[in-house]
Symmetry: C2
Subunit: 339 residues, 2 copies
DNA sequence: TCATTTAATGGTCACGTGTCCATTTCATCA
DNA sequence: TGATGAAATGGACACGTGACCATTAAATGA
């Protein structure tokens, strides 16, 4: 393996000087720099970051833990963050927790073992791993939460204006004349600290809308879960006239259910969802969606983390919120029967 | 930072013994093992892999370079590989090349710097970086190509039976009675070594079908490119009666174009595509697709790479092909006018 | 009981870099 | 010309581990 010593020997300088050609080129004469640069190119030398990591105490690597890489929200986030992080010379290690605390803990250990310089986390529900995160932080890893945050977390975060977006969505439906609005979301939201789930009943109440017990469901919703729940809701004697899906993932399941019941959107039921996944504009009718500024959020997260690492200010806490945008395409309309 | 020496001190043993509790526990007395294990837990010790990497020469890390993480094909691949790799104690560093050789080179340097133990690559078109890959291999990184391979590559690969799948697709359309079939793919396929693009004209020829010049297009197709091309094709005086999209990415663009022209599927035009993206079964009608066994391919790739690394046999070359599956859902039917 | 083997445990060193301090070379000015 | 300081270059060491060899304790057999 080629080392800086090989480069130094070939350029006829000391190892220290050779290193400076990479790290502090302004300290070298033009001639020396030129010679070392050539030697580096000739030998295809690439500094060994594992050695640097040992000396430095961290690996110039950012860890990213998401819920599930397959969900377009996380895929896009991953891509944006990867790009931003690369641009500043860091590598990105990814893992997903499948919204499970145990799997998350394993991943955290992995990140710890690799001495990641920073960690961007979409933590699983429950705060079981907050202690581990705190220890990681004490040992020198900068930590930032994204998309969701743990109760009592001392760390910074990058989040959507969740409550505001839920309010925007419900208001929109209410203004169209809907009274029976059901949300596809987590309803033990208090326990799970899910902001959207917590906001929904509050917004309904503030608009004077009744939220029947049967519209409330107590599970974390997968696409499959959303499918069953939607079937169930729409078969009620008093079915909702509008369905508001809190994630793009759930939207797919709900859409499948609506189609299976041969209900028309928006004539029979209005449909609104978070996340503008590619299919939402391909189906008929195209769906009304609340878009998250994923790229902005990813860039902000990467910047916050790397700035903190480079300024060696691990105590810095940055908390940022981003607004969502409601796009109307035709999947929401006034309800048929104004009872 | 807690080190193995701290653990050793607390357990009242030497550092070497403490290390063995992790690496070769069978060598220790039950009592000793117990004491060390407790000390590790008490101190929340996690071995520093950056130090191990320096000593070992590689970082117990696998690099994965895909075309674009956002494409569901790659997202799913990433997820599967990440999981498989974690299960065997490796971390996954990801990067995407956006199908661009220059960006790819930057990423390769990054992987090199981090001394990845293995590298799974969906290389960009063109073979500009084959030399770099070869050097990387000489320096101790095991390399495996996936989804696509470079001409003259000495490395192993995991691929779909591309030619066979194209043949299956064209045959299917031909059996339905289609003669004017257009493919959305790369047509300077020879140069770009795209297997699907290369197979299509051959299959058409072998079935005695004419492939007009106007059905051939010379660009790497993005979703946007597929959209324009589809518009163009369907506006011809002799438009194709069936469109065969070679990637799920292009399918989205093509579908958009077909809908914009208010053409009905399959009455006005039949539509077949590679990749079963989530939207393909949500649209109306659901699309006929050729499914790739992404999970099998990802697992196989991870296994090949890690087996090679652990057996220290970097010269091992494994080449595997996986079959695709055609799923019929109703987007293909006999053409209207049997001229 | 002691020699011999086997099971446990301990000690030393190198991996390639970043950091810090030391030394040499060069330009400036009285 | 020599003193002075700045610019440029060089040297030594430690980071925490894995690999290898060395040592000590326990078990075995006569």
């Amino acid at each position: 393996m080629t080392t800086i010593h090989d480069v130094a020997k070939r350029a006829g300088v000391s190892a220290t000087t050779a290193k400076r050609a990479i790290n502090e080129p302004q300290l070298l004469t033009e001639a020396t720099l030129e010679r070392v640069t050539r030697a580096i190119a000739d030998l295809n030398y690439e500094p060994d970051r594992t050695a640097g990591a040992l000396r430095r105490g961290h690996s110039q690597t950012i860890g990213l833990m998401v819920g599930n890489i397959i969900e377009p929200f996380f895929a896009q986030l991953t891509r944006t963050i990867a790009k931003a992080v690369h641009a500043r010379g860091y590598a990105l290690i990814v893992a997903d927790n499948e919204y499970d605390s145990n799997l998350e803990l394993e991943n955290l250990r992995m990140f710890h073992g690799h001495r990641v310089s920073g960690l961007i986390v979409r933590s699983a529900f429950g705060s079981g791993n907050l202690e581990y995160l705190k220890r990681l932080h004490e040992q020198g890893t900068y930590i930032l939460e994204i998309d969701h945050f743990l109760a009592g977390s001392p760390f910074g975060h990058v989040l959507l204006e969740n409550a505001e977006c839920v309010q925007m969505g419900v208001r929109y439906l209410h203004d169209l004349g809907h009274k029976r609005i059901a949300a596809l979301t987590v309803f033990d939201a208090e326990k799970l600290q899910d902001e959207r789930g917590k906001a929904f009943p509050n917004v309904m109440k503030s608009l004077g809308l009744h939220l029947p017990k049967v519209y409330q469901h107590g599970a974390t919703l997968s696409e499959e879960g959303a499918y069953s729940l939607t079937l169930e809701l729409l078969r009620l004697s008093e079915p909702p006239t509008a369905i508001f899906s809190m994630t793009g993932n759930e939207a797919a399941g709900a859409f499948r259910a609506i189609r299976e019941l041969k209900l028309r959107i928006p004539e029979d039921v209005s449909f609104l969802t978070f996340d503008d996944y590619s299919w939402t504009s391909l189906v008929d009718p195209p769906l009304d969606v609340i878009i998250q500024p994923i790229e902005d959020m990813g860039l902000a997260a990467a910047k916050i983390v790397i700035d903190a690492i480079q300024s060696r200010d691990l105590k810095k806490v940055v908390r940022k919120r981003f607004p969502g945008t409601l796009i109307r395409r035709g999947s929401c309309a006034p309800p048929k029967n104004k009872k």
